[in-house]
Symmetry: none
Subunit: 141 residues, 4 copies
């Protein structure tokens, strides 16, 4: 039996689509669907890591345009709601538009991931990345 | 000026699509287009890391035991030597022994990687991770 | 090369000297010379703040309620406008409403003061304080 | 009855003494003892503020030469000992020698002051300054 296939449509900024197509040519993909499937599988693998109750330490790196529709308000509101997991946030003004924020998180892996997911998914965030690390306690040097 | 948007369609295995949709719900995305855009930007950021003279922004997350043989001295000496690429460093005291340090780096990708490699390889560092991100300049939201 | 040291004698009211010695014990100084050297350096740092084109380093500490009418937007806009003087900003979420921000500034004293004045005067800032310090260059230890 | 006077001797770096004498001339002091008495009184006034159990928030700004005899080791050891009061520490590499550190502290005013005093008094710290601020809770905007 062949794998059954579903179709859906996606809207992207035109510039972003052009940059995607150039990358797919450079990487040698034959069509966008194969590339999207690879990206989805990679994110599923990452998503399933560290979804437990162990005490974890992590950093989240975010880049966003602070002029875009309320992105900073949304990020701040989220951070105050989850502030129990946030140690502190370092903010660097990259240029007139772009901000870099690095959050240091500490708490249950599942809560850290929940907050990181929401921050990275927030509208206006151009790039976001969760880096799970260790409290160092059980790890010999 | 309105952002110009392009539509295209994607074919995915039905099971993979179901798993994607569950992940997007868990991550808090409101629709697939926003999620695909985030994946595309993340892969663009990674794809461009090969271009070594491009201006890059990165964070390095380090966990180490500050009591271990001169590890802090070594990290500080390294950081002062490469200080042209370091915007600043956030330090969190995890417990009596363990320190978390997050560095924000900006400069040529090749120099950032050279510094990150040395920091992560330093004796006494238990875990180190380089997260390359973007200056945000050429990446549409 | 050994650090060259000079000795001189000081006359103080006996009561004042007793109070000084009690304070030095409470502060953890091992001898009066180290304490006097610290006082002298602190007063030198303050005394030189009058020289407006000298390169200076400073921190600004701000506490504000991020729910209040656009205070965060205003602070971010200001910081991006003056970003040439800002090294980075550390943000701590104090409770559901209150934020602490510490900015590290570097540049001409006059520009640092201009930015600090605007940040501290911004509507919604509950407490703000400029701490001018030194680049350390011309100050013996 | 005349106030009884006590004499004691102080050792200072020769360059620092020269800079002190120039400042005293510029400020119009007739001799070093009068200037030292003024500094001592100013520090006593500051020392007696905020020495209680109220919950406080503060920043400490430190500038030091990381090459000087174990200053960084001493500061890190102190910070780990008092880590219950330290939210996090932002570190900026000013030049090949000089470091700026800003600590965000939260806890009882008396404990914050005790830690700040020890950090500022540590051998090798060129300039240190405690800025007491507020949790924002009882302070209307």
């Amino acid at each position: 039996m062949e794998p059954r296939v579903a179709r859906f449509s996606v809207s992207l900024d035109k510039d972003l689509l052009r940059q995607l197509d150039r990358m797919l040519r450079e990487k040698g993909y034959r069509n966008r669907s194969l590339a999207v499937a690879d990206m989805v599988r990679e994110h599923l693998v990452e998503h399933r890591q560290g979804n437990d109750d162990r005490e974890s330490v992590a950093t989240v790196t975010l880049v966003y345009d602070h002029h875009k529709s309320h992105v900073q308000e949304a990020l701040t509101e989220l951070q105050h709601r989850f502030r129990g997991s946030i140690v502190s946030t370092l903010h660097v003004h990259l240029d007139h538009h772009n901000c870099l924020e690095v959050l240091v998180l500490r708490g249950k892996a599942s809560e850290i991931r929940a907050l990181a997911d929401r921050l990275i998914a927030a509208k206006g965030v151009k790039h976001g990345k969760l880096t799970l690390t260790t409290t160092g306690k059980d790890l010999p040097a």
